[in-house]
């Protein structure tokens, strides 16, 4: 539990390179390698998603619906077909659809078709929704999803930074005051992280919205939305408090527990005693000799917890009526909107991949063994 697993080891860059190579080339090389690896990983992940989704032929239905819609629109707009009867027009559309399906390769074996859809998914060409539309009226799945993404990113990046900085700060403080009452209290609270964020969200809604009335029950802004930008931002902030606290509360104690334990283990190392014997100040010892070797493990542990947070978002956003990706997924699953479901899953795979990629870069920057930056100083 505490020896956090490393999700991705910096294989390529950990090999010692000749000194002649410039730092920039190394950074670019490393980043490029990681990016290619991550793209391949996402590709495989998305492909698996498609295979799972299409076991019942659902993705095919999305594509067929898409074809029918485009053909119907084209026929409806064209002057040539104005004079046709409804019957004739339907026949004509059927013929065009069959032609188009053949052209799109829907009569091909599944293996070939799955690769076509994979390409569509990777380029975010996700098809059309039947019963959902974005607030701006578009029925393209990509627009529907991208419209919801900022709300989710706002919620989760806020919670993430709070978790990271508060967690590190408190963990350091506790490792300094090991065995104190606060230390034991927080360690005792660590098991509470077994419950996901939405679960605490329920309690916070009950307490702060229903009983005390301090914060709204849910939503992004109050209705109607305030006119001025400042009031709008304040309203969003007000609505954000409860979900952010719920995410924070569900992860912080376990995080502090793990990090504190790391700091304690590493502060027992001989070189730390040596540094102290040299007369270095506590702050310098902490920064250079304790934080620096523990940082990589902390970052990877954090990567795993963020991935957990992404999934928790589906229910959390539903509970708080937060108009983000998670709630979109929930709504789509309730009305069986296949294209949006598959599309959101693809986006989730992308989000996870990007998260892991960025943390990988951060990991490389702070891991003393990787030394991509080539900076010998103790900057953390």
């Amino acid at each position: 539990m505490t020896d956090a697993a490393l999700p991705l080891r910096p294989d390529a860059a950990s090999v010692e390179r000749p000194e002649s190579q410039s730092t920039l080339t190394r950074v670019v090389h490393y980043t490029g390698m990681r990016m290619i690896a991550m793209l391949i990983t996402i590709l495989i992940g998305v492909y698996l998603t498609i295979i799972i989704a299409n076991m019942g032929g659902h993705v095919d239905n999305i594509r067929k619906g898409y074809i029918r819609e485009t053909v119907a629109i084209a026929t409806g707009q064209s002057e040539e077909f104005r004079n046709m009867t409804a019957e004739e027009r339907r026949e004509h559309i059927d013929k065009l659809v069959a032609l188009q399906e053949k052209r799109m390769g829907l009569d091909q074996p599944f293996l070939l078709r799955s690769f076509r859809f994979l390409w569509g998914a990777m380029t975010l060409d996700l098809g059309w929704a039947d019963n959902m539309s974005s607030d701006s009226g578009s029925r393209q799945v990509r627009n529907i999803i991208l419209e919801r993404l900022p709300a989710t990113l706002l919620l989760f990046s806020t919670s993430f930074f709070m978790l990271f900085f508060v967690g590190i700060f408190v963990a350091l403080y506790l490792s300094r005051n090991y065995g104190s009452r606060l230390d034991r209290l927080i360690i005792g609270l660590a098991p509470t992280s077994a419950a996901p964020s939405w679960f605490y969200g329920l309690f916070f809604i009950l307490l702060f919205a229903a009983l005390l009335g301090w914060f709204p029950f849910g939503g992004l802004v109050s209705a109607p939305p305030p006119e001025s930008i400042i009031n709008y931002a304040l309203s969003v902030l007000n609505h954000m408090v409860l979900p952010v606290i719920a995410i924070f509360f569900s992860a912080i104690f376990l995080g502090i527990y793990g990090w504190r334990t790391f700091f304690l283990i590493f502060s027992n190392e001989d070189y730390v005693d040596m540094a102290r014997a040299k007369g270095l100040s506590d702050r310098v010892v902490e920064r250079r000799y304790i934080m620096r070797p523990t940082m990589p493990s902390i970052v990877t542990g954090l990567a795993l917890s963020i991935i957990g947070l992404w999934f928790g978002s589906i229910v959390l956003e539903t509970i708080f009526n937060w108009p983000g990706l998670g709630r979109l997924f929930y709504l789509a699953s309730n009305i069986f909107e296949t294209s949006v479901i598959v599309g959101s899953t693809v986006i989730y795979a992308y989000l996870l991949g990007i998260t892991v990629f960025f943390l990988d870069i951060v990991y490389a920057l702070i891991d003393p063994r990787v030394k991509v930056g080539g900076n010998p100083g103790g900057q953390v």
Partner: protein, 453 residues
Amino acid sequence: MTAVRRTLAALSQYPSAVAGLAIIAAMVLFSIYIVIAIPYSEAIDLWRGGEGVWLENPRTAQPKWVNLFPGVNLPETVILGPAGESDDASVQKERQVVSEEMTDVITTFTFDYTADEFPQEISLFLTSEHEQKRPLVSLTWLTPDGREIRIADVTVEGPVTVRFSQEEKLERRLDGVRAEIGLFADPASDEKDPRPLKGTYRLVAAGLVFEDDADVDARLVVYGKVYGLAGTDHLRRDLMLALMWGMPVALAFGLLAAVGTSVSTFIVAAIGVWFGGIVDAAIQRITEVNLILPVLPILIMVGLFYSRSIWVMLGVLIALSVFSSGIKTSRAIFLQIKESPYFEAARAYGAGNFRIIFLYLIPRLIPTLVPGFVVAIPSFVFVEATLAVLNLGDPLLPTWGKVLSDARVNDALYQGNYYWVLEPAALLLISGLGFSMVGFALDRVFNPRLRDL
């Protein structure tokens, strides 16, 4: 066995672990009891029974113990009749011959009302025995202060349910006030904020029958606002059933998922380390792909497209977790152990690869598996609850997650039905804490580096 005993002895050093073990033991015992007391099929029948089974329960009633709070005095449900089934003095039935062709069957219900709030609704269930001519029942309400209110006249054909709040004439007679309020209101109290009049109420159901051996039976239900130890939901179902049956389901799901994922992960890691080379590299790459697979969305897709059965979900969840991040941890430990000389000895006597993996490599490391496994159980219990909240719970079984989901869909928090959310949430939290407290202590017992800290 000595290893188990030693572990337990070490665990007893941690008060939190002792508490956690007590919770787990209590849950296991209770689960065994409930599965025997209410068998699987019966539980499903009761839960799916709909309104028919639970007809005489109030809707979204709070648990009875809320009346223990100071200042709370909510009415309990009063169920009276039919006469003869119980020799209760509160239901009296007599026959009066009116003429040659007509007989009056008069049933009088008497009950005391002492609550501070009005009942939820009032219903009278009528049944009759007749051949051709249908009996006519007229209902009269007698309040403690002696007022007499005519309710309705009903012709009884087969079983008839009279819902007082749906009698339009009665509502007009009560000046547009709902029946359950108008019939119980104290005339002296403020019209805008009526208070119930406490005392003895009576309902007289006078049935006029036109045949010699015809008869009318009636059953009065004054629905209260509290019910049982756990309250009821929007379909009048007793929440106790779901709360009790949720426990074995949660335990089974959490336990099976944790065993399935941790054991399979462990075996895969061991195989990778033992064979090394391409196998190991392939397992590592698969783990990296698996890390970015959106598990919950895929579970939801499976639930939507294929099956919502809790056991299918369990299988998919385990399949997606085989190549989880746990592999990296196990791998690191396996790599250390692989160099031990007894593997060479095993190879020297001609042991095959799988013999070595399953008989020598894996057993050595089972202790390191235990803490992670115990900690994983509650997270899987919560996965079930998460799926249920997303409307993807098992369609048949009553579970804690489904209670939470129903509560959420019916705006329980918004409408103040806090018990509906708090009861399953408390059970989830207690069981989660039980397992993770034991798991954390085990982690320290098996992880010597943590023991001094």
